[in-house]
């Protein structure tokens, strides 16, 4: 758990509704994320958690509601705006670039920090090379932090699942995000891997002050590392608060146990 010095809001979603055809993925969901906190989003499968992240990211555009990020309010986010605004994320089903190595994948995370155009790239010697080396240095810090030095040059397609998830986290971290969205970062991991991943997430939050929004199914992890929790079920918010408050909430217990609501 972390103590944050400021309670200011970094991101606020208000009355977000999202549907695909007839399917209501999200209905009237509102919550906020405070700067520097670890905010978990939990709920049974299909509750709309990933959709919520996609809305924050700008990949899905909600039919109703608004998103306020860093003080600016919008009806929808554009992916590029999100990226430039310091929002980075990992994906439920790992969206790494399979044809590239670990190093190259993480380097793509630096894309928004690099700007030398085609001409300098073609020449290589000069500004492009300097920029490349500067960013390489930062990426190497990330690689050290995540302890993945040995797989630097390995094509990611060949890595085991757990390491791929770590590389994906690396790519997100390389962007020096203000807000980090993690979609089930521990899915499919064993205990040891989960402990490592929890450690990385906590260190990112404590050392760099990165705000984190986290979707996770493992209640133990959620209880341990979250500051606050939001619970979604069938696209609606059914509870929020500190981990203890949420755990004791009857609605939440019913949702997970499958008691039907009228």
């Amino acid at each position: 758990m972390t103590t944050h010095s400021r309670n200011e809001t970094l991101l606020e979603v208000e009355s977000i509704s999202l549907s695909f055809g007839g399917v209501h993925a999200l209905s009237d969901v509102s919550f906020d994320i405070r700067k520097g906190e670890v905010r978990s989003i939990i709920g049974p499968n299909g509750a709309g958690k990933s959709s919520m992240l996609n809305v924050i990211n700008g990949f899905y555009h909600p039919q109703e509601g608004s998103i306020t990020y860093q003080g600016k309010r919008r009806a929808q986010m554009k992916p590029h705006e999100a990226a430039l605004g310091g929002i980075a994320r990992t994906f439920q089903n790992i969206a790494l670039f399979r044809g590239m190595s670990t190093l190259d994948n993480i380097m793509t995370g630096r894309n928004t920090k690099m700007s030398k155009g085609l001409f300098w790239q073609a020449l290589h010697f000069g500004p492009a090379k300097r920029e490349e080396i500067e960013n390489r240095e930062f990426v190497e810090h990330v690689i050290d932090f995540l302890e993945i030095q040995t797989i630097r040059k390995t094509p990611v397609g060949r890595l085991p699942y757990g390491l791929q998830k770590r590389v994906e986290l690396g790519r997100a971290l390389a962007a020096e995000p203000t807000l980090l969205l993690l979609d089930e970062p521990m899915a499919g991991m064993n205990l040891e891997e989960k402990e490592d991943m929890s450690r990385f997430i906590l260190e990112t939050n404590e050392e760099f002050g990165t705000t984190i929004a986290l979707i996770e199914h493992d209640m133990g992890v959620v209880m341990d590392i979250s500051d606050r929790v939001v619970v979604l079920d069938y696209g609606r918010k059914i509870a929020e608060g500190t981990p203890e408050e949420v755990r004791a909430n009857q609605n939440v217990i019913d949702a997970y146990l499958g008691v039907s609501h009228d």
Binding site: T108, N111, E132
Partner: protein
């Protein structure tokens, strides 16, 4: 064990990022370049230049261009033939308008013209993907060839519809037309290809190349981490078309000397270049060269073997060639979809331990 990379430690990111980080590779490539630049011109003759080396280099360049677009950026294109035509006709008209200007500059400008055309025909890629994009490039292919055939201005209203290259001197040395020596044509072509290969390698290992590969591998994720699809795709089209345009200009000016659009730049040409990068290896600079060598040498081998060796009629040899080409494509796609370049890599890996295999 002579090919071990053990003991070769990199002490800076700069050396780690070098094109040939392993010393043996560096030596090998320098060796080849020395032979190519300093050795070959002394031994080259008409046949070797015109039938083997120059087409190999020109096709390798076209393959490089297409590989940038299709192999690195994942945008399928069947319009290579037409873009080569743009480069060829651009160089033809430019030489006509500015006969005093250095040929190299005019070729460069032809490349730029082709890049512009490529960007225009690449715009649909922002909405269309995969096969559908291939169809859009077919539109470019058929339309442009029709254009070059119909509009007399392109071929200076010559009654045959063909364009023939003017004799051009490059710093006093004749490089086009029947008077040019094989060595001159070869060196001119080689210099251009060598420079452009280096440039391609530089672009591909840097930020732009990575953004291309990101779009290829997972364009949605790429967009979400801040890579702009517009910039990435159009830059791929632009660079790719530039290379293909230059290849077309050389194909016309130095290699063939005169062309007629329906034959030299038709859809079959697009397929040939596509085959080059499939066989050579998608997403590999080396692959373009290996594939081009394959495509250029195969018919020659066939002709020599069948016509010379077995006395088969040349028409039949042509049919067998087509059959063999198709069969080899299928073979490569089944056995090694990453082409000759991957096979080369595997061979090198085996060499690491030779003569002590694991």
């Amino acid at each position: 064990m002579f090919y071990r990379e053990n003991g070769q430690f990199k002490s800076s990111y700069s050396s780690d990022q070098a094109i040939f980080p392993i010393a043996q590779d560096r030596a090998f490539v320098i060796g080849i370049l020395l032979v190519a630049f300093c050795g070959v011109p002394f031994f080259i003759n008409e046949y070797w230049a015109n039938a083997i080396l120059i087409p190999l280099l020109v096709y390798a360049l076209a393959g490089l261009g297409l590989n940038i677009l299709t192999g690195y950026c994942g945008q399928v294109s069947l319009g290579t033939g037409a873009f080569m035509a743009v480069g060829a006709y651009a160089s033809f008209k430019l030489v006509g308008f500015f006969p005093e200007v250095n040929y190299l500059i005019l070729i460069f400008v032809s490349g730029l013209v082709t890049a512009a055309v490529g960007v225009v025909f690449g715009l649909p890629s922002l909405r269309i993907k995969g096969f559908y994009l291939a169809v859009a490039t077919l539109a470019a292919q058929f339309f442009l060839i029709w254009l070059f055939n119909k509009v007399g201005w392109f071929y200076d209203h010559s009654p045959t519809g063909m364009i023939t290259v003017r004799p051009i001197d490059f710093f006093g040395v004749r490089v086009t037309g029947p008077e040019a020596t094989p060595a001159a044509k070869y060196l001119f072509t080689l210099t251009i290809i060598a420079t452009l290969t280096l440039t391609a390698k530089n672009i591909v290992r840097g930020r732009v190349g990575r953004s291309w590969m990101a779009i290829r591998d997972m364009d949605i994720a790429a967009e979400l981490i801040g890579i702009k699809p517009l910039q990435a795709k159009l830059s791929a089209f632009a660079v790719s078309s530039f290379y293909i345009g230059v290849a077309g200009a050389l194909y016309f000016g130095v290699y063939l000397g005169s062309v007629e659009p329906l034959e030299a730049f038709d859809i079959n040409q697009s397929f040939y270049v596509l085959f080059i990068i499939i066989i050579g290896g998608l997403g590999s600079i080396l692959g373009a060269f290996l594939g081009a060598a394959f495509i250029v040498l195969l018919p020659i081998l066939m002709k020599n073997l069948m016509v010379g060796g077995f006395g088969v009629a040349s028409g039949t040899a042509g049919h067998v060639e087509i059959l063999l080409l198709g069969a080899l494509i299928i073979f490569f796609l089944i056995v090694e979809p990453h082409g000759l370049a991957r096979l080369w890599q595997i061979a090198k890996e085996k060499l690491r331990l030779w003569p002590f295999p694991h």
